[in-house]
């Protein structure tokens, strides 16, 4: 009976919370997916020559750093800091006039620049594809890469543009009313466990 509001010893595993969420990737899953993506990148590029990893803020950048560390673990000639950068796409978005104002983030490129490089864009979730379109525009203004590839941790479908990822951590069928949340210790605080969570839409 709900007449007494006293907290009963209810187990936290009850899935009947109004805003239910479930974890689809744990920290170990994320790590394994990134390891596989790192090998895929090396395989597709036939080695580590000319590789650059550009993360899209905010969570793409730590993912790019982790990928670079994994690349360096397989190929000791790689300096992870020298091939990792951050690419802000805020000013290139097509929804600037319709969204609340977004504060631009920093764009930091490796000292080599991107001309003639194989640029791997890294983001956490691939959804409509519009962020990646903006990223491609941002790249054009910075130089002319030899090739651009896309690596994402989660592909949740619902593309609105003809864009596809070359390397996907996990394909996640979702409803567009659901929210996919990626938590990474680098962004969400050192105490946070890495995970990917699907939350039911409001």
């Amino acid at each position: 009976m709900a007449s007494t509001p006293a907290p009963s010893g209810q187990s936290p595993s009850s899935a009947a919370t109004p805003n239910s969420s479930r974890t689809v990737l744990s920290a170990a899953d994320i790590d394994r997916a990134l390891t596989r993506i790192a090998y895929e990148i090396l395989e597709a590029n036939k080695g580590s020559a000319n590789l650059l990893l550009l993360g899209i803020p905010r969570r793409g950048f730590p993912l790019a750093q982790r990928l670079a560390a994994k690349l360096a673990a397989t190929d000791p000639s790689i300096d992870p800091a020298a091939i990792t950068g951050q690419l802000d796409v805020t000013m290139f978005r097509d929804d600037l006039a319709h969204q609340p104002t977004r504060a631009p983030q920093r764009t930091e490129l490796p000292a080599t620049g991107i001309d003639g490089k194989v640029v791997v864009l890294v983001d956490d979730v691939l959804y409509s594809g519009r962020t990646i379109r903006a990223a491609l525009d941002a790249l054009v203004d910075l130089g002319r890469p030899q090739a651009v590839r896309l690596a994402v941790l989660v592909d949740r479908g619902h593309r609105e543009l003809p864009i596809r990822a070359d390397h996907v951590g996990k394909n996640l069928p979702t409803s567009s009313s659901e929210k996919v949340r990626v938590r990474l210790a680098e962004i969400d605080g050192p105490g946070t466990a890495d995970e990917v969570v699907i939350e039911a839409g409001a």
């Binding site: 802000d88 000013m91 290139f92 969204q99 609340p100 104002t101 977004r102 631009p104 764009t107 203004d141």
Partner: protein, 340 residues
């Protein structure tokens, strides 16, 4: 933010948001393509009823770097010289569907009138009105100081403020909208401001401003200072004699070579010398000081473009958050920009 009219009503969060955005904008000037598509298809009108070099050019450069279309309007050579009113001029611009109006006017309060009267629907940015306010100048000064202060204190400048910084604002405070805007903004950001001026060049009621006031430049320099901002002696606004002679002014309140050397003698090696421009060399600032490594005059100009890009971007992108500017009269928000 919907309009940028003064710094007195600019909250700390909004001020820091503008400075942080400006920080990211400043990187655009170093790229291969010095342009961002953020304001493509938007129209910015520079409405200048008063002469200006750097502010107008700076706003024009800022708008163009954000891919906005820029229409320049100066009162000279326009219908204003035939007696057209501000309202009619503004509504002409509205009919051309301007998205932002950057206005400089000789009358204090003209931008606020434009923003609140319901004549136009565009965002209004005050580029200096009479002796009232010049918010983008204060923001670029604060940006310059914050960069310097962050380097001194070893903290990242993004997200930071000016807590504890000692700033002198010296000279013609009476006619200076730059001084007024700076006093309020620097107070918001936590700096300690001292105004130094001859008593005749201080406005009535200055004792109620959030700053200290002194008549003696040398004494305040000796007390220690992190930034000295020299103000231009605005001869064009001086309809009475405020000081006996230019030489006496330069000797007592000008930043001359002797005072520049005095900074070294006082072991103030990190003190910067600022000037909003245009400079009267030899009057309020000597050439030696203006061209010294301490001078940030050209940094200020450079930062001006970044700060104005940030202001334009924040005002023109996204749905504007309600701000405590005077409430707009019942007037359609720009929900749908459909042309009839």
């Amino acid at each position: 933010m919907r309009h940028l009219l003064d710094t007195e009503s600019l909250g700390r969060d909004n001020a820091i948001a503008i400075l942080d955005t400006a920080q990211e904008m400043s990187a655009v000037g170093e790229r291969e393509v010095k342009k961002l598509p953020a304001l493509r298809g938007r129209t910015v009108v520079n409405l200048f009823f008063e002469d200006s070099t750097r502010t107008r050019i700076s706003f024009e450069a800022a708008a163009k770097r954000l891919s906005a279309d820029v229409i320049n309007f100066s009162a000279k050579g326009s219908s204003v010289s035939k007696g057209e009113s501000l309202k009619d001029t503004a509504q002409t611009l509205e009919a051309m569907s301007a998205d932002a109006v950057v206005i400089r006017h000789w009358a204090s309060g003209a931008p606020a009138r434009l923003a609140t009267s319901g004549w136009i629907d565009a965002a209004v940015i005050n580029a200096g009105d009479g002796t009232h306010a010049h918010p983008t100048q204060a923001l670029l000064d604060a940006f310059t100081m914050r960069t310097h202060w962050a380097r001194l204190t070893g903290t990242p400048s993004v997200g930071g403020d000016l807590a504890g910084m000692r700033v002198l604002i010296v000279g013609d405070v009476l006619h200076s909208r730059v001084a007024r805007s700076n006093v309020w903004l620097l107070r918001t950001l936590g700096a300690r401001v001292t105004l130094v001026a001859p008593p005749t060049l201080l406005p009535v009621g200055v004792e109620h401003w959030p700053c200290e006031v002194s008549y003696d430049l040398d004494a305040t320099l000796e007390a220690g200072v992190d930034a000295v901002m020299m103000l231009r002696v605005q001869a064009e606004r001086m309809k009475a004699s405020f000081f006996p002679s230019a030489r006496e002014y330069a000797r007592r309140w000008g930043f001359d070579d002797a005072r520049l050397a005095r900074l070294d003698a006082l072991a103030l090696k990190d003190t910067i010398v600022m000037h909003p421009g245009p400079m009267n060399r030899g009057l309020e600032i000597s050439s030696g000081a203006a061209d010294s490594p301490r001078s940030t005059v050209l940094d200020q100009v450079r930062n001006g473009v970044s700060v104005r890009m940030a202001a334009l971007y924040l005002l023109l992108s996204g749905d504007m958050k309600a701000v405590p500017t005077p409430a707009l009269p019942a007037f359609a928000q720009p929900a749908a920009k459909d042309h009839p």
